[in-house]
Structure formats: structure tokens, C-alpha cells
Symmetry: C2
Subunit: 251 residues, 2 copies
DNA sequence: CCTAATTTGTACGTATGTATT
DNA sequence: AAATACATACGTACAAATTAG
């Protein structure tokens, strides 16, 4: 058996660790090891294939990097995917980049106030889980060098401290406090939904467009590492002034 | 000097390789090594910090995994970023998933024909670089269990073989050939742009909506690893039937 | 163009620490 | 408490890619 598997690495080409990694990936793909199952231990692999522990570890590192297994000290290597997921990744340097904020636009806060959980669907989402109060900040985003409104932005924040609430309720400091709340270091996951809508009368006035004009609507939910919903942001972009562009790269 | 740096690793905590990695990350962040500059060689780091090559390599591996450096055999380690970029990644199992195709919708090809480079902006993009002919396939996407059109899809393919052209020009096989062309194994990069538009008369008829209704427009450019533009896809989604949703996870 | 030196990659061995079972 | 399994860390040697001369 050990002899058999030893030869298995002989007829391949390239470094041993890649052959072993390839062999294990094939085994996983063929269903030899189901999701949740444990791979052989490092020692078993060393003995079976007649390679050093260093080589075995390098092979397992490959599988780990490809997202096929996770490894835990004292426990072993567990299969978490049967085929290397094709991953396209979108790199975002800062949350501001993603929001197309940065220095390309400026923000004008219209109003901010605490709202009841049942004020609308977003307020209820923010308050429901944490039972924390919700502050709603409404603002208009303008391009630099342009007086036409780019977007109507409604932000719903789950307030956690008195300090945060005070800053959010002050129209001077609200924008900065929102940025602090969705700080890249705090945000672990963002769920976003895009769609196209015809703007209603009220929003049309604020965006300086005709009612019925197409608008690009983005709703984003920001979660921290503990899975808590920190912020819901609802943006309504001027249809003809705004395009959301991104590049997905294979990783 | 060597003595000095040796002590530097002493006062930290945790494994040596992490201390060394942290030290190097700090140095990079502080601008001690600019982007494009080379880090000290493995040997130099071993000597300076009094650790084994194994430890040094593990530390450098950390920096590589964080995207701060790249390493090339015979050349050295080069700084490519001064701070670990906050990366949010969007995992897509298949191109079909991204296109919301999968088994949730069905496609009906309306027409397919070769078009001149100057037919429109997309045809010109596809033909311009490769000087290859461009085939345009127009189709309607329907949700399963619904007769209302979900989207009008125009695909522009840079044809590379006679076989590909023949399959694309046959309305029976065009859809499958498009899927083959944007096969996950061939696509390295996708550029996508989203925006909202009011639909014109011609498109409105095809989508069974009123002219002026909001539509969600997606233009995607598919590139292979050599940077060649393979396909441009232009989709016009029914505004009220379609939402594009995605989750960005910190990686 | 070829050679030699440099630098990282691969691969072996060994020992001890630490988390899990 | 003991056994197991991965993590960390030391050592050595040679191969392969790059660069300098």
C-alpha cells in the first residue's frame, strides 16, 4: 500500500509537494474525502508517500491556500470544499472607495434623528437584532465641481454609545461619525443589493430630476466580525450621472 | 547592528516568525522600504536577527500572503504594497452564478450574426484589439416559471475559430457556445459596470415594459489571462423583476 | 554568449511546544 | 493524564532562476 502510493508520486512531474497536493486534490474532487471529513495526518502522509514532513506540510499548505481544507493544531486537516472555488476578488482599499466617496464627492447632511423601529424596513432591521436605538441620517451627495445632486443617501445606524448618538444627531459631525462607524477595521462583511427604480415625487425633488426618471438604488448592510448589523445605507443615485464599476480578478 | 536587531525580536511576544513579520511590516509601513524596493535577502535577515532560514522564510511567507511583497527565485523579495490592503472578496463559483443564470433562468436566442467593427461601441471594442471578427448574439432571458422577460442580453464575441463562429451563428447552439467562451477556466478578469436607465421604445417592446420604465443595465468585459478581450455582454434587466445582490467578505 | 555568484525553491533530518482528543 | 496532531524552530544540502561580470 505504502509502496503503491510511493510510486504514485514517482510518475508525476515537478516537485514532490505539488504532486502530493495534486494527488490529494484529485482524491477530494473524486469524493474520496467528503466535506467535513479528515485528511490523513501529516505522519500518515509522510509514511504513505515516503516524503518528509516538510514536503507533506508544503502540500497541505497548498490545499489550505486553495481553500480546500482547514487545519487545526491537535485536530487535523478537514475538507471544507471539494473543488478549488474559482474566486474572483474585488479589492477595495477603503470603504470610502467602495462608496465612491473619497475625494471625488462631498456630502451635505439634511437631517438626522432617532427613529422608531417601525419607521421603515431599514430602521426595523437595525433595531431588531441589537435592540439598540436607530438613528437615521439623510444627506445629499454632490460631485465635486458640480451642483447637481448625485445621490440621496439615507443611513441607518445602530447606536451603541451615547457619544456616538450625540455625534450622529449633530448635523456637523454626523458624516464623520458615519465614516467612523463603517471604519474598515470594524467591518467584516458587506451585503449589497443593486437595482433600478423610477424615482417617486419626493425623491425626485431632492435629486433635481423628474419623477419617473431612472435611478440606481443601492442598499448596503454592514456587519462586524460578531455578525452584528452596524449600519444600513440606502442610496438613490442619479441615473444618468452615476455608474457603478468594478473589476473582478481571478485570485 | 546584528546584536541590536536580535534583541528586537526578544522583547516581542509570540513566535519568532510573527515577530519578524511584524517588524518587517512596520518597516514597510514606515516607508523604510518603498514600493518596488527589495527587502533584505533571506540570508541577511537570518544573520541580522539570529534566526534560522526556516523562520525567516515563514515570516516572508506571511508578508507574501498579506500581499505586501512578491518573491522571485534568484531575484529576491520586492515590496508591492506599503500596508496590507483591506480586501473584501466576492466569491463566485461559476460565471453562470455571477450572471444569475444557473438553473434559475432560461435563455431564448433571438438572433445572431456577424457585425462590422463600426456597428456599435461594443462591436468596435471586440474587433479593435484582436482584429478578429465579431459575432453579435441577441437573446432574451426568462425566469423559470415566469413568462415575463427578465432581461434583454446582447453578447459580442471575438471569434477565434471557424468552429466557434459556426456554433455562434446557429441559434440552437449559440447559447452553449457563449458559455464555453466565458468558461471560468479561460476568464482571468471581468470588468463590470452597472447603471440605471430609462428604456427606449425598441427595448421596451422586447422586455414587455413601458418605454421610460427603469431598467438595470450591466456591461461586462471578459478578458483572458493574456489580457485579450473575449466577450462583451450587455444586459438590460427588467427594473422591478431584478436585483443584483452580492456579499463582500473580508479576506 | 557564457560563467560565476547570488537568491529563492525544494527537500531531507531532528527536536520541542501547544492545542485537541 | 496520556496520546495524538499540528506549530514552531533549529540544522543541512542541492536545484533552479536570476543577475552581474
Amino acid at each position: 500500500m505504502a509502496q503503491e502510493t510511493q510510486t504514485m508520486l514517482q510518475d508525476g512531474s515537478g516537485p514532490y509537494y505539488k504532486r502530493l497536493a495534486g494527488y490529494l486534490m484529485d482524491e477530494i474532487k473524486e469524493g474520496r474525502y467528503a466535506i467535513g471529513a479528515s485528511l490523513p495526518t501529516e505522519k500518515e502522509l509522510c509514511d504513505s508517500f515516503g516524503v518528509s514532513r516538510h514536503t507533506t506540510r508544503e502540500a497541505l499548505r497548498q490545499l489550505e491556500n486553495k481553500g480546500l481544507i482547514t487545519r487545526r493544531q491537535g485536530s487535523g486537516s478537514t475538507v471544507v470544499a471539494t473543488s478549488p472555488p474559482v474566486r474572483y476578488e474585488q479589492n477595495i482599499q477603503t470603504i470610502e472607495d467602495m462608496l465612491h466617496h473619497g475625494k471625488a464627492t462631498r456630502l451635505h447632511v439634511l437631517s438626522s434623528k432617532e427613529v422608531e423601529p417601525d419607521a421603515n424596513q431599514f430602521a426595523s432591521q437595525v433595531t431588531h437584532l441589537g435592540k439598540t436605538p436607530c438613528i437615521w441620517v439623510r444627506s445629499i451627495r454632490y460631485p465635486r465641481n458640480d451642483v447637481r445632486p448625485l445621490a440621496l443617501v439615507d443611513v441607518y445606524v445602530a447606536v451603541r454609545t451615547k457619544m456616538q448618538a450625540r455625534k450622529l444627531l449633530d448635523e456637523e459631525t454626523a458624516a464623520q461619525e458615519i465614516v467612523n462607524t463603517v471604519d474598515v477595521r470594524k467591518i467584516d462583511r458587506i451585503e449589497q443589493a443593486f437595482n433600478a427604480v423610477n424615482v417617486a415625487d419626493a425623491e425626485a425633488k431632492l435629486l433635481h430630476v423628474k419623477a419617473g426618471d431612472a435611478a440606481f438604488q443601492i442598499v448596503r448592510h454592514y456587519y462586524d466580525a460578531a455578525g452584528r448589523l452596524l449600519v444600513v445605507a440606502h442610496s438613490l443615485y442619479h441615473g444618468s450621472l452615476f455608474t457603478y464599476a468594478s473589476t473582478l480578478r481571478r485570485s
